[in-house]
């Protein structure tokens, strides 16, 4: 190596080393700085902020809902910024928001929160009590929603979420097809059972529901267990009766075994293809059915009262999403103003008609039952006294997963009924409360 080479190498290495070192240090320092800048932007970090960050599924923001939000902005001086919740499942919501809660920096000031997320978020102390907002409107909710509220949204006497979206397991019946068979609307499991042979001869299923994993199997099992007079998580006689009822229908060809792998799209498709006589489905199916033209007539998707199980009790359950405010939100006051505004009794009719996803039956919007099929159905169920709260467990996702596993395992023949009950019971007990 000649002198020129050596000197240039030495000079290059010294300078470059310093540059590389300084550059690396700068990048290392800049990353947290940039992150801090990003987080400080959320809500402004203080109660004086005028921006309310709303976590919501964007399809729920119909133009009329946006108009109501604009009215809130005009009257309160707050600006509402939308933070989209990408999916529509409670689990996706948990995945999106938990890191922020754990870090003590929630990315929203107010959010729609699902049943699946609520027990954990409340237990972790991540939510702000909303007692003051609920107090003036609580009597406006029907008693069955208040019963659900007490179970799901309350801890140590404080309310942490207020119901802002309501879903009910409805029992849809094909009246036309039933009358062609000379059958009446089933009002009990026995009636469904009696339909089995004739329906099968016509290539129809007497009853169906999508029961795939995850969660869908739980929904159906919980619905039927309630009709048998029990709580699905108990894995007692009522749960056993519900499991056996579906298995018997499968064995008779009156319930599609393939429904063990069905999504709701698949069960809806089978229903609108006239393959199913009666079906349990969420209230959103009223819109799906009405949109299925030219198939649709009101008689093809009639909402009937749920069937009664072996104890003679017709029952169904409801649940939903509610508005909640993170305890460490940047703008707690603004968020509470927003919740109070959107859920005011004086505004419940306007909000409920603005989007089906904000529709909650309340005394202040009872008149909607005369014009709106969904509200009519919910009022029918309320008046008949068949509504019950969603089965509750603190570790709700773990508990639902147990029901999913055991129910589909039993239906597909992996376990006997007694083994399934024993397995389910021990796994639920292992979860604790």
């Amino acid at each position: 190596m000649n002198n020129t080479d050596r000197s240039s190498t030495a000079a290059l290495s010294r300078r470059t080393f310093l540059k590389v070192g300084a550059g690396t240090a700068a990048v290392a320092a800049a990353a947290p700085l940039l992150a801090a800048c990003g987080s400080s932007g959320s809500g402004g970090g203080g109660g004086s902020s005028k921006t309310v960050k709303l976590g919501v599924i964007t399809t729920w923001l119909t133009p009329p809902i946006k108009k109501i939000i604009s009215d809130f902005e005009a009257s309160s001086g707050q600006h509402v910024e939308i933070v989209p919740i990408p999916g529509s499942s409670g689990v996706q919501l948990i995945q999106q928001f938990t890191p922020g809660f754990v870090a003590g920096k929630p990315s929203v000031d107010v959010m729609f929160i699902s049943d699946e997320a609520t027990p954990g978020f409340v237990a972790a102390g991540w939510l702000e009590p909303l007692d003051d907002i609920l107090k003036p409107i609580q009597s406006d909710f029907p008693s069955y929603i208040n019963a659900y509220h007490d179970q799901w949204n309350v801890k140590d006497g404080h309310s942490y979420r207020i119901t802002a979206q309501w879903s009910v397991c409805l029992y849809f019946t094909q009246q036309q097809a039933l009358s062609q068979l000379g059958a009446k609307t089933p009002t009990s499991w026995d009636d469904i059972d009696a339909l089995a042979t004739e329906a099968k001869n016509k290539g129809l299923w007497a009853f169906a529901d999508a029961v795939e994993k995850p969660a869908l199997a739980f929904v159906d099992a919980a619905w039927l267990t309630m009709q048998a007079g029990g709580d699905v998580f108990d894995f007692g006689d009522a749960t056993a009766a519900a499991f056996q009822f579906v298995k018997n229908l499968i064995d008779k060809g009156a319930f599609p075994k393939e429904a063990i792998g069905w999504t709701y799209d698949q069960s809806n498709a089978a229903y609108t293809q006239n393959k199913i006589l009666t079906m349990r489905q969420w209230n959103y199916f009223t819109d799906v059915a009405a949109a299925a033209k030219p198939w649709y007539t009101p008689a093809k998707a009639t909402v009937s009262l749920p069937p009664a199980g072996p104890n003679g009790k017709a029952a169904t359950w409801g649940g939903g999403w509610g508005l909640a405010v993170p305890a460490k939100a940047g703008n707690v006051d603004g968020a509470k103003q927003f919740v109070s505004y959107m859920l005011a009794s004086s505004r419940s009719t306007e909000v409920a008609t603005a989007s089906a996803n904000w529709a909650v039956p309340r005394k202040s919007n009872e008149s909607l039952a005369k014009t709106n099929a969904l509200f009519a159905a919910m009022q029918k169920y309320g008046d008949a006294g068949v509504m019950q709260p969603r089965p509750f467990r603190t570790k709700i996702n773990d508990a639902q997963a147990v029901v999913d596993d055991v129910f589909t395992g039993y239906l597909s023949g992996q376990q006997s009924l007694s083994a399934a009950m024993k397995d389910g019971s021990s796994r639920i007990q292992a979860l604790g409360s």
């Binding site: 080393f17 994993k213 992996q414």
Partner: protein
């Protein structure tokens, strides 16, 4: 004395000069070496941060009860690992993970070799066919899973319909235990066989044409050529591809997530999916981390076996 010292003086002086020349070389190269380290350091730091630290953190978490919705983290020793051992569902999951990964890999290699040989032969539109061969692999697994969920529906699914017309008995492909397992493996093989074929095709193209010409002169049949030339010479590539696919599939869960959710019951549950559900659905981070560590050990063992197999196949 002088003479006694002098002979020694030369070696001492030689050693000193050797040492000093090494020192000089080190001094001369020190900056260069430091520059090398400085240039490599960011990459190493990023890798430690993105791979090393998560593994260490996962290992630590596996010895904790960690659920953000259940209060502070606490040390639980081997409890999470004991729960894995005691859980019937997890043992079933481990068994199906092994079946899924091993059967898929074997089928992918067998079909991959066949496809690679076909793609290596000369025919019109060969390049287009090679590109088409990779399409299933390019489709995201979740999309493929949802599509097959519909295609396998016994009422209106196109594949279920075709199979019925071909004389297969009426089968509930995703609702019964063994058909669901077969379906998951079949869709996985459909996705990956084309990719394996491309890996093996690269191996085939390194085989000298003279070997085939010489064997033809000796009267060897195509089958004999395949058995005695092609197969032995692509065995190292097969060992590498097989190891790679095995590791990949032991840890994969996307198809299961989108096609069956692990059902019916726990029939198609794989460890990766169980870890995902426990971690990101139920938020049992400690338990999920323990499952992930078990997976890591399994993958490491497969990796070592694969490396040994590859070395032996090269001898």
């Amino acid at each position: 004395m002088t003479t006694a010292v002098e002979p020694d003086a030369t070696p001492v002086s030689g050693a000193a000069s050797h040492t000093s020349s090494r020192r000089g070389a080190w001094r001369r190269n020190r900056r260069r070496i430091m520059l090398c380290f400085a240039l490599v350091l960011p990459v190493v730091a990023v890798r430690v941060f993105t791979a090393g630290w998560p593994i260490v953190k996962t290992g630590v978490t596996s010895f904790q009860h960690s659920n953000p919705t259940e209060g502070p983290v606490s040390w639980t020793g081997l409890t999470n690992y004991r729960e894995i051992w005691d859980s019937t569902e997890l043992r079933q999951s481990l068994l199906f993970t092994a079946i899924f990964a091993v059967v898929s890999t074997i089928l992918e290699l067998v079909i991959g070799v066949g496809l690679a040989v076909l793609l290596n032969s000369k025919f019109r539109f060969r390049r287009i066919v090679r590109a088409i061969n990779l399409i299933p692999w390019a489709i995201p697994a979740v999309v493929a899973g949802i599509a097959f969920q519909f295609a396998l529906d016994p009422s209106y699914g196109v594949i279920a319909g075709v199979l019925r017309h071909l004389g297969f008995p009426h089968t509930l492909w995703l609702s019964e235990t063994n058909p669901a397992r077969v379906s998951i493996i079949a869709v996985n093989v459909w996705r990956n066989a084309g990719f394996v074929a491309v890996l093996l095709l690269a191996g085939l193209q390194t085989i000298p044409a003279e070997l085939y010409e010489a064997s033809s002169v000796d009267g060897a049949s195509k089958w004999r050529q395949f058995r005695s030339i092609t197969l032995p010479l692509i065995t190292p590539v097969m060992a590498s591809a097989g190891t790679f696919m095995l590791i990949w599939q032991v840890a994969s869960f996307d198809l299961v997530l989108s096609m069956t959710g692990g059902g019916p019951g726990t029939a198609t549950e794989v460890l990766g999916h169980t870890a995902y559900v426990q971690g990101f659905q139920n938020f049992n981070f400690g338990f999920s981390a323990a499952i992930a560590m078990v997976l890591l050990v399994v993958v490491a063992v497969i990796g070592v076996i694969g490396a040994v197999a590859r070395k032996r196949s090269e001898l």
